[in-house]
Subunit: 254 residues, 2 copies
DNA sequence: ACACAAAATATGTCGGAGTAAATAGGAGAT
DNA sequence: ATCTCCTATTTACTCCGACATATTTTGTGT
């Protein structure tokens, strides 16, 4: 996001975007700084220019700039101390699973290694979640999953609607675990899945039809077969990982 | 935290606490509001008093109050809109794995159900992490684990030093996975473990000596035996969960 | 070379004024 | 009486300028 766009966000920008961190001015600043940090423009240990200087550079008031810094600080990206300035924290302090931070990470060209890590997390969490979901799901959960599946049948994963249905399906599984701590991982996993499908598309490595795998997971959960659900999800995640790996190689070969 | 304490944070409070959200004024406000929200004093859907009114009530400026709200907003606890006010978001929007949010959750009497959920997440993540750690650890990782184990041998889990050593051990395992996404879960799991040991102590259900279980995990990781490491960690987590369950029952029986 | 004190500087806090946005309420038309 | 549109109010959002506070740096003295 350029400085001009930030200044524009201050005025009434009739852009079509309905939500996101770009609506309010301090949110736009946080978005810009967040993406700059995640993209490596500001590296850990770097010290940002002083409040007055940076705020003036961005053509915003010091108040708005400070509120943006508070947001970044709340997500562990930066820390400020009097006289010492505001410095970018080491990467291990970043709340990488924060939805906004993930969004900033995927705003630019995401680090391939980080995507691999997210997939590894997914491969750990989702089969276990499917196991719990098979034990705890109720009719409403199954209904939502069924609707998501039929939506996936209608729209391809190349469309935003299709990807949304995919996210809905996985979210429904996590919801069925009745575990808040697991559910918050939905955003992380959803982001990884969403980006990956777009990625594979760009790499012209159209993925195999993932629907049958999803149906197998659904059937096991609906039947209440915990082990079968975990195993089916395992297969699904492994295949997705494999597809992503080959897509990455294709893209690297260009 | 009372209003007086917030006002005190504005002046030079020579308190011994070296870090934490209580040092700066807006951090103290965020801490107060955060704990109040996590404790249920403000329920999801509730609308906070207006900026001017609430800031005056807390005897702080609107700037400081607003910066605190930005922090809470960044963690998904609240959302503000002109005319509508600032309202507490539904619980599923909260970033429950955020270190600060976890701290606020454990500041009061934590929800038993939430603790159970954190343990469930731990039971999923840690064995898998131990498996990866056994494959990827290097000498430095093993050295840190060994030091943490000897520290656990010296200090009991009833001391803060002992609990710190326990946290260090588990953190070292997650670090050895070389997976950023897994590492950020360290804070969550560490918080749960830390609180649980204190909890069991309060319930006068002194836990069995956890050291042998930890040693078994270490041996398997040092040997590079992935499956044995996962299995040993499985045992460790299961035993901890069992201890916690009985401790909770003891406390509920009072 | 070291210890302590003073100055410099950046963040932190404050109070007030004005702007923009969303809801509530009323005027008008159907 | 119901609905639509407009107006008005309320609230958060932004900006500004000033002062306070904390930390680093510099300087001074021993």
């Amino acid at each position: 996001m350029t400085e001009a766009e930030i200044a524009k966000a201050a005025n009434g920008k009739p852009g079509k975007e309905t939500r996101g961190p770009g609506r309010r001015l301090h949110g736009a600043i946080a978005h810009k700084l967040g993406t700059d940090i995640l993209s490596g423009k500001y590296a850990p240990g770097d010290i940002l220019s002083g409040e007055v200087a940076f705020a003036e550079e961005l053509k915003v008031s010091r108040s708005a700039y400070r509120e943006a810094i508070q947001v970044l600080s709340a997500k562990g990206l930066v820390a400020s101390r009097p006289k010492a300035g505001t410095r970018v924290l080491p990467r291990e302090r970043w709340n990488l699973l924060d939805p906004d931070v993930l969004g900033w990470a995927f705003a630019g060209e995401p680090d391939v290694e980080f995507v691999r890590n997210l997939f590894e997390l997914r491969a750990i969490v989702e089969p276990a979640a499917a196991r719990l979901a098979a034990q705890r799901r109720d009719k409403t959960d199954l209904k939502i999953m069924k609707e998501a599946l039929s939506a996936m049948r209608q729209h391809s994963l190349t469309t935003e609607q299709g990807r949304a249905a995919d996210r809905d399906f996985h979210h429904a599984i996590l919801h069925a675990t009745r575990n808040d701590a697991l559910m918050v991982l939905s955003a992380s996993i959803g982001a990884a899945v969403n980006w990956t499908t777009q990625f594979k598309q760009r790499a012209r490595a159209l993925p195999r039809n993932p629907l049958p795998d999803h149906v197998r997971v659904y059937d096991a959960i609906a039947a209440g077969d915990a082990e079968a659900a975990a195993e089916a999800m395992n297969v699904l995640v492994d295949l997705a990982l494999e597809d992503t790996r080959t897509a990455m190689q294709n893209l690297a070969a260009e």
